[in-house]
Homo-oligomer: 192 residues x 2
Amino acid sequence: MNKGLLFVLSGPSGVGKGTVCKALLKKMPDLIYSVSATTRQPRIGETDGVNYFFKSREQFMQMIEEDQLLEYAEYVGNYYGTPRDFVERTLEEGRDIILEIEVQGALKVKEKFPDGIFIFLLPPSLDELKDRIRGRGTENDHVIDHRMNVAVEEIALMANYDYAVVNDEIDLACERIESIVIAEHCKIEPNE
Amino acid sequence: MNKGLLFVLSGPSGVGKGTVCKALLKKMPDLIYSVSATTRQPRIGETDGVNYFFKSREQFMQMIEEDQLLEYAEYVGNYYGTPRDFVERTLEEGRDIILEIEVQGALKVKEKFPDGIFIFLLPPSLDELKDRIRGRGTENDHVIDHRMNVAVEEIALMANYDYAVVNDEIDLACERIESIVIAEHCKIEPNE
């Protein structure tokens, strides 16, 4: 049996990774979503093992120590990471898996899975990204400027990715990613 | 303006390249079909410049001499070739072009357009291919065996291609090729 393919969907904060990933999983029921581990508290409606694997700080630190995470990061006082075991088991079973993660984390995953397919989700323009970040409503100008600077730095890392997909419309972005998944399955490896 | 992409659809004789290409062009009106030059007589319903560029033997020989053909071959006493000029103009205009050609010709095009995207159309199985060749009706067993041997040799050349697409159903094969076209447009070049 062939191993599954590892897809990583990443891009700057505010670009719409979560929304696109959700729509994609609806369209492609065979694609498995890589559930992240986190130390943050579950929100109402979130289920352990579906939205996140909810862990105590101690459990999370142990996962780091035992190299059980492909990547992890701290964000607003909480830890988030990608459990290695679930990814590896899914691929061994011959199923494709998709990771929806931040840009820095994606680059760490690339060190461990150089054969993964790395997709960078782009805003239609930087103005549009600013609007989207502003649209969340809760941020002040200083926070927005900081996020924009981070986004520009992250976009500069796009050269490390395999594909760039513009998120102009969710349906179009999904169609492009679905095409990438189909095309990658048709690819002939140079050393085959 | 970005240059268009060059796609080459190839595969063993009998695999259904022509049928798939025709269906694909219907589905993707922006894709330009590379019209071949030939010395054979037009058949009823064929139009010069649409189905083929019909040339005299002298004209064809001159095109070869002037390096106006990306590839050419003799088949049952007639010459067939791909005019370079039409391909280059289409790409310069920023439009994608598709060449539907034999395996040997595709490898010659690859020497001249290493950045082209080479798609190998595969039969679902060798038995299926034999049935399709036999299905044309006019061939005797000796001719069928010869064609099968050639097909097996051609399939061995698949490693020189970028993608393999199984022609199990025309619609599915078209969908895969359309996905390859979309994905290739999202690709980030390593040296960008």
